[in-house]
Symmetry: C2
């Protein structure tokens, strides 16, 4: 009669993952400073979330050094793919086309982005990868 832990990283967790992907790896302090540029969070709050993320397996922790160094367990691409697959499943009936449609009509999609997408599509059309 309870709520199951979210399969996806939460918003806060994702922000920390973004920081770690950019840093490669980092201490709580480094992550906190990175986040502070956009977000107002206490140092211990970041630490706590990162501890929980480590328990969940989202982060790896090197305890042999002080301060401890954290890194993401999965790559950004792996996580992004999982998030897209999840959203596809939950909100787009599994049809990537519908999802891409909404992405294309986003205000964020510049002609440049569109060319980028076209290039991706071409690469898929002729052969692999």
């Amino acid at each position: 009669m309870a709520r199951p832990a979210s399969k996806r990283p939460t918003d806060t967790e994702l922000e920390i993952l973004n920081a770690l992907w950019e840093l490669g790896a980092g201490t709580v302090r480094e992550v906190h400073e990175h986040l502070s540029q956009q977000r107002d969070m206490g140092h211990t709050t970041v630490l706590k979330v990162m501890q929980i993320m480590t328990e969940k397996g989202l982060l790896q922790r090197d305890e042999s050094v002080r301060p401890q160094v954290f890194r993401a367990s999965r790559t950004q691409a792996q996580t992004q793919k999982a998030l897209v697959a999840d959203l596809l499943e939950r909100a787009f009936d599994g049809s990537p086309g519908n999802l891409v449609l909404q992405a294309l009509t986003s205000r964020r999609t510049s002609p440049e982005e569109r060319r980028k997408i076209q290039a991706l599509l071409d690469r898929h059309e002729k052969g692999r990868r």
Copy 2:
């Protein structure tokens, strides 16, 4: 010092929205039956969630009839677009290209889907919409 209500519909809420979009509008019973095909949820549970969704503004309720009829406040397309924009912001640094890349490399993307996407791109390339 607490948790803010999620800006996005939760998983359960999205399932109910999916049902209502497909039904057009429906009673709790109809939604429950629709959901029962994939999910095991009590009748009152569905009702409760739908009540909360109504409070949140996600659903509109016609109380003049019995049983009450609910419908989604926003269209599927509107919601999908918001979800994509949100994911774009949180996990793809605002770049639709990166998102589409992950969508394209999804196992769910058949050649047929790819053609569909190509058609969308073409439509965007030449002119409006």
